[in-house]
Symmetry: C2
Subunit: 143 residues, 2 copies
Amino acid sequence: MDDQFYMKQALAEARKAAERDEVPVGAVVVCKDRIIARAHNLTETLTDVTAHAEMQAITAAASALGGKYLNECTLYVTVEPCVMCAGAIAWAQTGRLVFGTADEKRGYQRYAPQALHPKTVVVKGVMADECAALMKEFFQRKR
Amino acid sequence: MDDQFYMKQALAEARKAAERDEVPVGAVVVCKDRIIARAHNLTETLTDVTAHAEMQAITAAASALGGKYLNECTLYVTVEPCVMCAGAIAWAQTGRLVFGTADEKRGYQRYAPQALHPKTVVVKGVMADECAALMKEFFQRKR
């Protein structure tokens, strides 16, 4: 299984968010070639700004592993994490972060380029067009 | 009621964290002179890096209000928020942030000074000595 395969799973999560009229961001956490957590943005449904896909995926992955640290895991997320999520990814000492499309307005790279753990390997742009298209459709529908 | 009064309540939460052998950080959210949420760090107890005092307080306050935004609220926290929590404080459009002691290693001011919402009023150093003393005692005990 490669990064594209797992990003497709994250995209499937993002589509679930879109179906709920949530900003379509999805995430999965993979450990030793197994998906141990799947999540999508639920901020509106839960009335909770902290309910981003990544936050829920990190919490669920830690629960699945029985430990706080995700140093042997890869977090796949369809959109570049925000500052909040980058901070959580850092605290979890996440081994790899793979994201799809960049988020120039709210992404961590703009506000906190040093926010991640120095050991976290970052891969950008995996299936970026598909991830971006979902976001674009959503915001066009909203207008 | 003034900032000192509410910071004392946050300190009481921080002491609860210390009693559980958690890094002693406490938070309360105040809206129209009423405490609508209280929380303390529970990252070890919950095996969850996202369970910082501020994150839980924001989630609980939104639940109490029935809305995601805390623009009419003040978040009191004993220690300067980290990047993750600063991001959450920004998403919640928190009206005021009052913190006790600075956190030079992990505080948002070092990594993401622009992370907060531009409208959030920040007050620093309220009962800083008491807040810092709790942290210092905790880490000395750990050594």
